[in-house]
Symmetry: D2
Subunit: 364 residues, 4 copies
């Protein structure tokens, strides 16, 4: 299968370029009977919409989603759900040097070598706008998950080396950086303003917590729950690393500390610590699932940079126009979306794991 | 597709449990005409074989591979290559409490909840022995890659917080920890001996460098080259994190530093730095590919641990028997194998990326 | 992977319902560099458009295709090609009994049992309009195939028991039944007129000939070239049977006749007969590929029929409105499309079948 | 995914050549908790074993199956089930001309063009022995299906043009041709004896009836239940055609006859006829599923035949040795196996078709 599709029971296929006619996603295998309207999706898309603060590009992207199929009388029908967002800001313009120059830190050169050509308008397929399809699909999966008692919640864990130290639920949606810590958010804004003055950009870390996933979800080998989450997160444009639970810190720990003890509490098996991040051997252990993604600094900066063009000439470029000094806040909802899709898919898979489940289902 | 298969053009399917009759792998889609014999595979398997130092379990695993299909007259035929390793050490014994108790840090509880039963002998399918199939398949992919000028080389980057500081090629194979730095290796051995005295275990980080991959390899969206490597590495039992290039450090950098400048040198496009780790936007950029995997401390330790059994009772267990105090050195070849499979698969995919490639191929 | 996607190297995913907002297809993995415009696709869609004769429904379906992504500066870019056709004729109306009654010969009952609900407007997803996406994707694959010297040509072989007896190339496009035999076409039209007088419907057989496919295309086991063609054709709504070469007649033959002798002619290996239909052991043998699909009579007829409704009551229905008395002529282009997609996909796969191909490709 | 894997929720991957070390199958995704021993599989393998009558090759193939993984304490564990049959009759011998000559009616030439080499011993991968893995996997799926009330029963429908006219359940297993009609079986044996005298071979048709499948199974578009059955059956070596229900006869019928009326009988929706063969629009309609596969005459015959060798020379060959004059009787269990795998997979898929199923499953 070609590489724009993700998921097994539920498969999403995204399409579209930054400055093409439209972007979208087809969600196949989604179960019938979920109440769904465009507003359910729009609230997710609005969270990644630009122009919401000085730390995100001012581009006016309406990003209004249209449901083209798969929903009838207000419910999903079980057939493919096709969602589309038209690109409003699609005026033809002169892209100048960008059209033939490989921007440092971007996928331009790789695309050119791979395909022999590339859509240079706004990064084409490698634009952050590609995530619109992911977010739209994630909104639907997250809605189904909520009906199963599963919540997916991501937030900015750090910007540069300014790290969230307290967790104030609710604060995330009150500051433009999606940090659940008002002091850290304030400090991070100052750091970003300094970056912007330098015509520079910053990165950060996003953390995602998924609550309510029962133990037993995920496949034992290549499709381990954390392996699929790792693929899902690293497939987001600027992600350069991923951690589950204690992540790289676990590599410095010892077994007697890193092992989470199990204990019966109120008739339920629980863990007394959560170094594992809710996943052991690729299968959920009933605890909160905790993952992190490291986001690199936005590669588009307006400083002069040295590079090469399609003719093999050394050139210098300045990248002007609308660019986020940091993509972390807008990527928070993308991380949520990818986690929701992955978890939802794995939970559906579990339903056929046992002969007794199957016999119970078909007993009549 | 079920979750024991990995890869697209080349698909590997592993099977087998730690104490079952045998373990193996089927490699489907591998091209015809590669010279191949069992020894090509055995040298890789021998690198993960236990009993090679005091830091690995003393279990006598012969791990002799047998080629069952797909090779004829010394060459691959293009049909599935089936490889098998018999479990010699398969004596029936009393597993005692282990049979009904969920070991902390292990997949026992997850398997039980998922499948309603589990093969408790040596961890069953969640054993490190599952990686035998991966390593065998990786050996074959690495052989093909070498014929294309691509080398895959992994090593221990750190044990606990003892980190390689110099890189001495050749040293990796001279110490039992697979560290390319004799001083760090010595220090790490002392650290591990202390762990063993405490009946404790350690983790570490493995780094893998892949040289010779041309620019243009990898798919733009969900099957980004780094996303597939991330899945491949996190799917290895004890891995809790993965990084590409600067990884989490990139999140603290700024664009003007993190962006690698392109430059024409001797008629070729090269990057003057490699913060990206050889992958930009999911597509290889022609530079060395550099990835890291964080390995948690071995969960099997002989200290008393608190846990729960299948009857929902709080119990204490001590895990006796043969256990590696650290799995990092033996996992080095597994990391190499998974990287080789992923890169090989992506390089095959690239051959159909352009109409002109296809017309050239079918021109007669 | 969910069931609206077909193909391996090239994957197509169709979406849309008969009376929803739109229908379309996403083609992923299609190589970069094919010259492509909407007109290339429109000529295929126009061949399946209704309202072209009294033997097809009079519904005015504009069926104008829009390319939403994957094409830039007149060429495919290698990224997903998204195609959409708006449903013009989407007025809300009273579907009366149809909304709650299971039409005989239709998928209504199956959909209802499967999904617990169904889009009853014009058959929803089970409508023949679902094939719009297939035809659009097929047009693109056929264009690539032509550049490789491969032609895909389908026609009506029989209507009822009136069978083409002569083959007049060019005649196919001159009669409304797509029969390459003017006499048979005339006779078939008379037969259809009689059916229509009886408020009844007819079926037929479509044959497809694919020329120019070199020997060696197809996979040996489950993805045999004919097995994938069989899936492709039976996946078209009304198809109840498929044959390769002599098909069911071969079952009555003997080996000495059914075996096609190979012979060297002008330095090329050719077969002196073609009972195999160009495929042996699932792999192309260099001869013309010949396949047939049996199409059942249109299930929508305006005679009174006995059936059951969602309340489990016995009821009688008459199905009024616009219905083709025979779908065969309009399905000809759908058969071509599915064959083109299958062959194109298999030809791309072949490019990675041999180590020497791969070494040649990466030799620099 | 490469082409030796079939199935979605349950994926089977076969491997092995006719005269290699062994043949086998890996069944991944099979649910945990089915009671299973080698004898369950052996009874199916014994049905395809040669040497059981003068109409099948006398080759002594022990074909004893070994379960290598995925079964513990007499039950499936949910992890991959690996099954292997050793080739006993694997003596190295002189294959003479066969080694370099393309046998008419065989896959030899296609394999050679595809892979540039081939395992010529007994047909290698294209041998009928490849079906051992299918039959073994089918035995397990059929066992699960029986626990769900589904029975899969195939038989020889015709040999040459001698067709079963009565259906005597039980008779199938009493004659060497697997025909459920003693008179037809007797006549067919006489026909085959005449073929053998002529050093010739025969074909036939296999019919498979699947009872107990509820309505609502199958996917609406490319993975229609009949489309997947068509792929499954045509993927069996000698199959040249497939029919569902009335098949090609339906193409000559009219809608008023071919449409099966629904009727409430004893509170259940039933069809009063079954022209559809139990599948409408790709989804089961609750009636018996009826499919047929056309098998060509065995291509290996001992008459002199004209062909070409690898050097491009015109040559004549006689194929000596052990060959079935007809493969139909031994293919009956292969048809059963492929139908069982396909139906079982589709029934598992259905369990996630509706949000209310999912909520019911996760309600605690």
């Amino acid at each position: 299968m070609a590489g724009s599709t993700f998921g097994n029971r539920i498969s999403i296929t995204t399409w579209g370029e930054s400055h093409g006619a439209a972007l979208g996603v087809v969600i196949d295998g989604f179960p019938a009977g979920l109440k769904l309207c465009e507003e359910d999706i729009q609230v997710y898309l609005d969270r990644r919409k630009p122009g919401q603060s000085k730390f995100t590009t001012a581009r006016a992207e309406g990003d209004k989603v249209e449901i083209l199929s798969g929903v009838f009388e207000g419910h999903t029908t079980g057939t493919p759900i096709s969602l589309m967002v038209r690109n409003l800001d699609q005026h033809s313009k002169d892209y100048g040097d960008i059209a033939t120059t490989f921007r440092p830190g971007h996928a331009d050169y790789g695309f050119y070598e791979k395909f022999g050509r590339r859509d240079y308008r706004g990064g084409g397929r490698s634009s952050g706008r590609e995530t619109i399809g992911r977010v739209a699909a994630g909104a639907i999966c997250a809605k189904l998950l909520r009906e199963l008692g599963v919540e997916v919640f991501a937030y900015t864990k750090s910007i540069g080396d300014i790290r969230v130290s307290e967790f104030e639920l609710g604060e995330r949606d009150l500051n433009p950086l999606a940090m659940p810590d008002s002091l850290a958010a304030k400090e991070a804004q100052e750091y970003l303003e300094a970056c912007m003055l330098n015509k520079d950009s910053a990165g950060g870390v996003i953390e995602c917590v998924i609550t309510g996933v029962p133990a037993g979800i995920g496949e034992p080998v290549f499709d381990k729950l954390d392996a699929k989450i790792a693929q899902a997160l690293v497939s987001i444009g600027a992600v350069k690393g991923v951690e589950i639970g204690d992540g790289f810190e676990a590599s410095k720990s010892v077994g007697s500390i890193n092992n989470d003890a199990f204990e019966m509490i109120d008739g339920r098996i629980v863990k007394t610590t959560n170094h594992s991040g809710g996943i052991l051997g690729g299968i959920s252990d009933g605890d909160d699932i905790i993952v992190r993604a490291a986001i690199k600094p936005t590669p588009s900066i307006s400083q002069m940079q040295h590079t090469v063009n399609e003719n093999g000439e050394n050139v210098d470029i300045e990248i002007h126009g609308r660019h986020d000094p940091v993509v972390v806040p807008r990527a928070v909802v993308v991380v949520e979306a990818m986690c929701a899709i992955t978890i939802c898919d794995a939970m559906l898979s579990h339903m056929t794991d046992r002969v007794d489940y199957i016999k119970e289902f078909y007993k009549n």
